[in-house]
Symmetry: C2
Subunit: 240 residues, 2 copies
Amino acid sequence: MVSSHRLPSRARRPPRRGDRGQVPETRRERLLAAAADEFAARGFDGAKVDRIAARARVNKALIYYYFRSKAALYREVLLDVFRTVAGAVAAVRDVGGPPDVQLGGFVQAVADHTVRQPRFPNIWLREMAEGGRHVDESILMELRKVLETLGAILQEGKRAGAFVDANPFVTQMAIVAPLLLFSATAPVRERFKKLAPAHFSAIPRSVVVDHVRTATLAALAVPSPSSTRRPASRSRGESQ
Amino acid sequence: MVSSHRLPSRARRPPRRGDRGQVPETRRERLLAAAADEFAARGFDGAKVDRIAARARVNKALIYYYFRSKAALYREVLLDVFRTVAGAVAAVRDVGGPPDVQLGGFVQAVADHTVRQPRFPNIWLREMAEGGRHVDESILMELRKVLETLGAILQEGKRAGAFVDANPFVTQMAIVAPLLLFSATAPVRERFKKLAPAHFSAIPRSVVVDHVRTATLAALAVPSPSSTRRPASRSRGESQ
DNA sequence: GTCTATATTTTGATAGAC
DNA sequence: GTCTATCAAAATATAGAC
């Protein structure tokens, strides 16, 4: 046994994708997934490079080889997350249908996505609380796509006389924010389920989705002229 | 001037509050305020003890004297923030009035509070994204008070036949989440105002408040029997 | 109560062998 | 491409003088 067992120069297969079995992720992919987990769970500052490497079962130095820094890795994760969301909601437009159904589909798409990509709510919430410190233009573009999808639905609804005029950004926030927070609060609700009445802890996601859809559609509904509803009493105390 | 200028044992006035001028905060108070700023801006892990001390213009060691650790200081801030919110919304109940006005008042109270205590949205969002890691029972109690205030309003409305049955937690999230996110996103919207259409960047807070109130009231409204509105078409794709 | 060191650990990052 | 070893800079926390 001389040096015959010494592998020529490298045993690892080069970028050869094709024999894609089950979990034959590249190390780069493993790192991205592990990073998404860490960043979602701990935030940018709370996330530790060592922990990401450990989770990915890869050496720390590889992070700096593939990505340039912790911050760059984070931006990659951010972009990936938002790209996926943008894609998910865009699909709703392709399905088509009447505006109110499309809007329901939009709500459902976001909600479904919080299940399919559980890191997404925390990462979005955190990045916003962070003031969007790490949001660069490429990431912003993806966020805009989400907004444009909703904007198109709203405009179609308005053209059809089904919706009143509404600000897309505001509408989007009223839809997305509760869904994000619902996912994010799952751990606390679980932790304190002993202390809280049953209907505070065991809430099916569908109840939230229903509420958000109903509320949004109702807010967009064109008031029927025969309506007896008073015009939303303005209260004192206007803010800035 | 021998040693006559040497103060007996301490010059700093003890807990003597009363000559409360303008900014005669104790060092402890300065620390709490500075900590709230830091934690809101950077999160628990991102916040640095040195920076908090610097902001408060006091020595770092004082933090460990007054509070026991960074975590304990953070919990103090959390408790303070939530206690203040709970108090603000509770006031709405005292004012009274018909249920829909009270609910409008609740929305307005939360919105007003995001202005009066600008750290509140970020701190809340972050702590939730954190999975409520630092939420202990005392803090939970304050959160419950907020929920109980809303719950009482909803129940009163239901009794009066003005509201349909609704889950208080879900309703609360649909109200609070958009308001929090609106405040939190201010920096990003400002930063990218050049790239985004006008109505995405310059949104008055009142528009958000109006949307949230309108949507919530509409979702709670008892459907008039003569209504032609179809029962919120259920879309496929139910989530877990 | 308040400050000056300073100990101790953790962490992001890199050099260089294989 | 991947790993070992290691540095240098933070960052939390404390001891102890005043």
